[in-house]
Subunit: 435 residues, 2 copies
């Protein structure tokens, strides 16, 4: 099967094709979807040489174009990475089915039964960068959750993505999943067009830099799963165990500084600042972290640079930490609400009552007590797969597993039941009995 | 307490005040929120004469302005309506608490416990029309769900809304709920401004005409709970029991034709059209319903008017029904996906397998088998309260009760736990044990 070459003019048709295929996919059993995943895994293993060759072409071109080495590394689909991606497909097949779960099962009256069932969203639009293995992972999550998917990879990975999609299409042709459920876009113009297809695309998942995600969020009416900024705080309360506080601060800042769940600003209660800051400074220096402090912090640690307003709004993504002294839990929460990105916020204290106030009042996807912000992650939460982390208010929120790719519908089955029976003077009562 | 008079310049401040009050509200117990509801109910009863006087002023002005009688009727807050609204507050107090529900409770490792808990959204923006009793209902739902609320009623109801808000503020001042959690806007300019406050308003709930809801949806980045169109279909399959089909079609069309869950187009399988249409026509004529048919339908019922493309896209909201003949379930589904508004879609058939395909493949908030579309309603589903009906894909979808006013957050509590323990060569394993 040839890969469809699209122009913006034909993209709307392609999305409708995907939508129609997704509709068939929604009607397949767990077993039929899992069989398709097994077939893809097998086909990728069988075509590993062809895939390696296509990837080599991309890597040579990237080198010739002088693309940054970090990007070249992500582009490279080594045999180990491919085997790991294939193992990932089998893991996804083994996850419990996110669709068809009964959330409400209620008799409204004899013979009139309501079910609220999880069901696929429809069509996902996924825009990712250089990593060709992302295509494999996303496709398997889409099929598992009964969704069609329109993929757009980075242009550096064009040959790799085209070959992977061809192999996936060939594999699906032998299964009950229509190959049209998985589509690949190849040009930047198509990305723009994709964002306008709110009639046929139900969710956009961007994987890339903060500015890229923000661009997507600001340029589409389609719901976007993801987050732009990750400005997380740790608040060290006056009731903190300072040893724990140092260890948690170090882990939150340095365990993986580029991650969205790393700490950017540390808030410290004034009552323990004099005792705590020198310990903190020593430990952070040992990890190569540069501190920037507000005026009060700099009275205790005069050697550190002054933090300005801009620091409170910055996601450093590296070994820099802003430090602010606050006089109360209330001030800490106010700072978090002004500058935080509603991602993950932690309090360190042995005072259970204050901790509970923090957990109740702080508005963020993750509110943590006496542990590192770095735990905010779908795998660590035990979700098996992570589709993204959402900082929006409405669910799905926080780390999102497969359940972020499904919605629900109400199924009502009767036997000729009409609403008139239940209205007016002689209205029959509903039984509303949960089954 | 005086009602805050706002101008667009001060609205952002007012929204921040509401947000701060909502943050305190989020920290209150079920009992504290229910006590506030009881206090409001009592205060409204105590001030019924003052409320009646304010409402009389509005009603006289509306009459003098020659406002349509239907609108005048909705504006009138009779003692019966007020008593019913007060009873409604007590009903809301009696509903189970939508916040603090534990959705996930999982040990990640010894002493490191994850909970996913429902929590308030924050601040609701509710824009409604003439009915002053809507203000009472919405305020009670907001307080029950721990949310602040910014209300904007129709200008005809200005005196009524101001007096109701004053009484509510006075009542709340004697409770643990900060009065600032409930705010009233009074000018149209403020509505526009409200739609731009995506930093402090978390959900917009518009109550009004289709075009009004569409305007709101197109002019805000804040999530909107509601629906513009309600174009619902009933598909009478060749395997239908025709007697049931007539009864369900009559109910779906005529039980309350102005409702969003009323049927607008009837799809009929060609194999039974000749037998079914004359029965349908007779029953519909008896209810005063005018039919419009496609060409095939008009071969059987030549007396009815021709349906055009525009009919398939029209929510009549009255006693008109479009009829289309289709050759298959697939054609029926295709028509529904092209013209439906994803609200409620029904199939009438005795063929269980075809019915299941319809329920699986049709993408709508409600998919019904052998019952009237009119059942698509929060009270009929047994939700106790209905906040709105959503036709969006992402949850909350369909009729939405109190759960539509809450989101969730992840609370993780540890005792000094850091992520580094669980990574690298000697990584400790997570236990991931549901509690």
């Amino acid at each position: 099967m040839a890969i469809l070459q699209t122009t913006p003019d034909s993209l709307s048709n392609l999305a409708q094709q995907t939508q129609k295929a997704a509709q068939q996919l929604a009607d397949l059993s767990t077993q039929q979807r899992n069989q398709a995943l097994e077939a893809i895994a097998q086909a990728l293993a069988n075509h590993k040489d062809e895939i390696a060759a296509a990837n080599a072409t991309d890597c040579e071109q990237a080198k010739a174009d002088g693309i940054p080495e970090a990007l070249q590394a992500r582009l490279k689909l080594s045999e180990t990475k491919l085997q790991s991606a294939i193992a990932g497909i089998k893991d996804v097949a083994g996850l419990s089915d996110p669709i068809g779960a009964i959330q409400i099962h209620r008799e409204l009256d004899t013979g009139l039964v309501l079910k609220r069932l999880t069901c696929p969203l429809g069509v996902l639009g996924v825009i990712f960068e250089a990593r060709p293995d992302a295509l494999i992972q996303i496709t398997s999550l889409a099929i598992k959750s009964g969704n069609g998917v329109i993929l757009k990879g980075g242009k550096e990975a064009l040959n790799s993505c085209q070959t992977l999609t061809k192999v996936i299409h060939e594999a699906l042709a032998e299964t009950d999943v229509p190959p049209e459920a998985v589509q690949l876009l190849t040009t930047r113009a198509e990305t723009q067009e994709l964002l306008s297809l709110d009639e046929s695309v139900d969710l956009i998942i961007p994987r890339g830099s903060n500015s890229f995600v923000r661009f997507i969020q600001e340029n589409t009416n389609i719901p976007v799963l993801g987050h732009a900024d990750g400005i997380c705080h740790v608040y060290v309360d006056e009731g903190a165990d300072l040893e724990k506080a140092v260890a948690i601060a170090i882990d939150s800042k340095t365990q993986y500084p580029a991650a969205c769940n790393a700490m950017e600003t540390l808030l410290v209660h004034s009552a323990i600042a004099e005792q705590f800051l020198p310990q903190l400074e020593k430990a952070m220096a040992g990890k190569g972290v540069t501190l920037r402090g507000d005026e009060v912090a700099r009275r205790i640690l005069p050697q550190i640079a002054q933090a300005t307003e801009a620091d409170w709004e910055t996601e450093y993504g590296g070994l820099v930490l802003a430090v602010k002294i606050v006089d109360s839990l209330e001030s800490a929460i106010a700072h978090i609400h002004t500058y935080g990105s509603r991602h993950t916020e932690a309090i360190i204290t042995e005072n259970a009552s204050l901790a509970q106030t923090f957990l109740n009042q702080v508005d963020a996807a993750g509110v943590f007590h006496n542990c590192s912000t770095r735990f905010s992650d779908g795998f660590r939460y035990g979700f098996g797969a992570e589709v993204g982390i959402s900082t929006q208010k409405m669910p799905p929120r926080g780390p999102v597993g497969l359940e972020g790719l499904v919605t629900y519908k109400y199924q009502l089955t009767g036997d000729g039941h009409i609403a008139e029976t239940y209205s007016g003077d002689n209205a029959k009562s509903f039984t509303h009995k949960d089954l």
